[in-house]
């Protein structure tokens, strides 16, 4: 059984009487331990897909099963609990709370899972250690560079030991060098067995992951067109084989 199973998922918005299918009959499986990227231009529906996968939004049609739990029938409180325990988010703009220091930011998910103060601190420090930020635990986000903030955000995503991590354009706000370091961190986490979903518009970044899914007009594209994305095998950036759409009927 796959970690995530999407079956015929659609998300339909109504804008001024017009029906917009942000997601159109998407079926997708993600296995435990996979490192996968979802790629597509802006407006393609990749963000909607990530929101639905991440339990931030619910689909109009179709079913989702995450780690054995049917998501589409869960209420808001249960979704919040699933986000808290089973999902970690990494955002383009880091989304750390500016009034809290790094350690407090990392502790935040555990506050909402009712973990005691001492354990929170220990686990937050362990997570910061993992991303190489233990020495910055008392800093405010505003005192850190973008790369450091993103590392803190990754520590926050890791700290509740989630089943799956979603990263939405995690390098979109970083320079190339720092971005590569962050991608390297993800690769390292993947090699430790984490399930990671990387959402990006940039084929170069998508090239890091062994498996790529392209979204176009709310659907999963039949074939990933590397030449269309302007990606040539330079600098050894495409070491892995490209899977076509794997699951299906």
């Amino acid at each position: 059984m796959a970690l995530v199973e999407l079956r015929n998922v659609s998300k339909i918005y109504h804008l001024g009487g017009e029906e917009i299918r942000a997601l159109d009959d998407v079926t997708l499986d993600i296995d435990e331990g996979e490192f996968i990227s979802i790629i597509g231009p802006s407006g393609s529906g990749k963000s909607t897909l990530m929101h639905i996968l991440g339990c931030l939004d619910s689909p109009s049609h179709g079913s989702i099963r995450l780690d054995g739990t049917m998501i589409q029938s869960a209420n808001a409180r249960e979704l919040a609990a699933i986000r808290n325990r089973k999902i970690g988010f990494v955002f383009q703009f880091f989304n750390l709370l500016p009034k809290l220091n790094v350690a407090q930011n990392v502790e935040l998910p555990m506050v909402y899972s009712g973990i005691s103060g001492r354990e929170r601190h220990q686990r937050a420090m362990a997570a910061l250690e993992q991303v190489g930020m233990a020495n910055r635990s008392q800093h405010r986000p505003s005192q850190l560079s973008g790369g450091q903030q993103q590392r803190a955000a990754i520590a926050r995503a890791l700290v509740n030991n989630p089943r799956i991590i979603f990263a939405d354009e995690p390098t979109g706000n970083l320079d190339t060098h720092t971005g590569e370091a962050i991608l390297e961190l993800f690769r390292q986490l993947s090699s430790e067995g984490r399930t990671i979903v990387l959402v990006t518009h940039d084929p170069e970044i998508a090239a890091v992951t062994p498996r790529r899914i392209e979204i176009r007009d709310g659907k999963i594209a039949e074939k990933l067109d590397l030449t269309l994305a302007g990606l040539s095998p330079r600098g050894g950036r495409v070491p892995h084989e490209v899977h076509d759409q794997e699951p299906g009927a």
């Binding site: 929101h51 991440g54 931030l56 939004d57 079913s63 099963r65 054995g68 739990t69 049917m70 029938s73 869960a74 808001a76 409180r77 249960e78 919040a80 609990a81 699933i82 986000r83 808290n84 325990r85 089973k86 988010f89 955002f91 989304n95 750390l96 709370l97 009034k99 935040l108 998910p109 506050v111 909402y112 899972s113 009712g114 926050r156 509740n160």
Partner: protein, 481 residues
């Protein structure tokens, strides 16, 4: 494909613990110190005005009750002669008035009565030492009047039964008479004790055998002490301005000081007049001279009865009424006066003052609440993104609701505590402006009520913003700039 909705271990987690939530609220308040302080100001003013108002009213109430006790308290009822009612006018010549017979009848017939004091009043002018003084109350009575009117002899002695029996020309005076005739101790610089001196009461020589202590309210005592503390200031402003009777209840004490009493028999023997002469004088508001009743004993000006307990007031009034109706052969030439009305007036005043003051303080609290709600609404629209982040990492709607509500309540409670502190400062300021007014009495109850109200206002003001924040959709909140 039919897996359970959500595993129970996930869904039944408790909300983020309250301590952390309160911590978040405090940090938020601290981060916007000035704004929070302005927000609290409404609550501070509301709470402090509620407490201060209640303390001032309590002080006034205490002062009024003090005066009530000084004139004998609620247990005292007074029986006064009155004109016979119109329908009994044809029996007027048989009306005896209130007499000493009634004293005996009440003593014999009424239960729950303590002391009974028959009294005669007359207009009097005292002359001595080349000066004149018109006392408020010149009274002929039995020695029991001392207890009845809560008098205390400070110098000399009270007249006794023998003085009464012999109708001796002796009197006991209040300090006001002393002040007017022989001067105040402050003026002369030495204690003036006119015991043994002669005073002419309506041209009849009397010997002063006793003097009451100086009666004053708590407030007057403070005035006097203040004046003693600042003698140079007193001198600079010249003679003290008389403020008349106004300003609370201390006129009761002034009147009590302007009292002269003599034995009942003395007044009857020395000052009895004919009914005609009395009638000519009856435009005066008091009784019209000393006249005889048909039975040969004096028509009393009043008969004061002290009950053993206020609880029997209604019953005893009826009992005495029945007795007097018998002794007066059904002629209703007497009436009752009690202090109930005064006591009710005090209660009424206190209720009114509480209500109006409470209303104002309540409005201040409501305004404070609106201020909190306003600032919380502004605060959540500043923090939409924060709320989105918190939701994305697992905060439930309830967690967000609680966070905003706790923040609102914390603001209100800090405001409440500050308000309690401010109320003491406020009372201090009021006290320094008018140090002689009744001392405000801050009660724990008033403080608890005011603090409780601030908590309620905090909750009410936080509900709507908290609800609004909790309903934010995480995705839209995250996209918000």
């Amino acid at each position: 494909m039919s897996a359970p909705a959500a595993s129970p271990s996930v869904s039944n987690r408790a909300s983020a613990n309250l301590g952390v939530t309160v911590g978040v609220g405090l940090r938020e308040i601290w981060a916007h110190k000035f704004r929070s302080m302005l927000t609290m100001l409404g609550i501070i003013l509301g709470v402090s005005s509620l407490v201060a108002m209640s303390a001032l009213v309590k002080g006034i109430e205490r002062g009024a009750k003090e005066a009530l006790i000084a004139i004998g308290g609620l247990e005292k009822i007074r029986i006064e002669p009155q004109e016979v009612p119109v329908e009994q006018r044809h029996l007027a010549d048989q009306a005896k008035g209130v007499t000493l017979d009634d004293v005996e009848a009440i003593e014999a017939g009424a239960s729950h009565t303590g002391i009974i004091s028959p009294e005669l009043y007359m207009r009097a002018t005292l002359t001595a030492n080349g000066r004149r003084f018109r006392p408020y109350n010149c009274c002929g009575a039995l020695p029991v009047v001392l207890e009845m009117d809560e008098h205390v002899i400070q110098h000399g002695r009270m007249f006794n039964e023998i003085d009464d029996e012999m109708a001796r020309n002796v009197c006991v005076i209040g300090t006001a008479a002393r002040d007017e005739l022989w001067g105040t101790p402050e003026e002369t610089g030495e204690p003036v004790i006119p015991i043994g001196r002669t005073v002419y009461i309506n041209h009849v020589p009397f010997t002063v055998i006793g003097m009451f202590e100086h009666y004053e309210s708590e407030q007057e005592r403070k005035e006097r002490e203040l004046a003693a503390k600042q003698p140079e200031k007193q001198a600079a402003t010249g003679p003290a301005r008389s403020r008349g009777r106004g300003g609370g209840s201390h006129f009761v004490f002034r009147l009590k000081n302007a009292t002269v009493i003599m034995p009942l028999n003395t007044m009857w023997m020395k000052f009895r007049t004919t009914a005609e002469a009395a009638a000519a004088e009856s435009d005066w508001r008091g009784p019209a001279g000393i006249t005889d009743s048909p039975t040969g004993s004096p028509r009393l000006s009043s008969l004061e009865v002290k009950l053993s307990s206020v609880d029997y007031l209604a019953d005893t009034l009826q009992q005495i009424r029945n007795i007097l109706m018998t002794t007066h052969q059904g002629i209703e030439d007497f009436s009752f006066r009690t202090q109930e009305e005064w006591a009710e007036n005090i209660d009424q005043f206190v209720r009114n003052a509480r209500m109006s003051g409470g209303l104002i303080a309540g409005i201040a609290l409501v305004v404070g609440g609106i201020g909190i709600m306003n600032i919380m609404l502004a605060s959540i629209s500043e923090r939409v993104r924060e709320i989105g982040i918190r939701k994305s990492i697992g905060a439930t709607d309830g967690d967000i609701f609680l966070q905003i509500l706790v923040e609102s309540v914390v603001i209100a409670l800090i405001g409440g505590v500050a308000g309690l502190a401010t109320s003491f400062a406020l009372l201090g300021v009021i006290g320094s402006f008018s140090p002689t007014e009744n001392t405000p009495v801050v009660t724990a109850g008033a403080m608890a009520v005011a603090f409780g109200f601030s908590a309620v206002v905090g909750v009410l003001a936080g509900l709507f913003p908290a609800f609004k924040a909790s309903r934010l959709h995480p995705i839209q909140a995250l996209r918000y700039d």
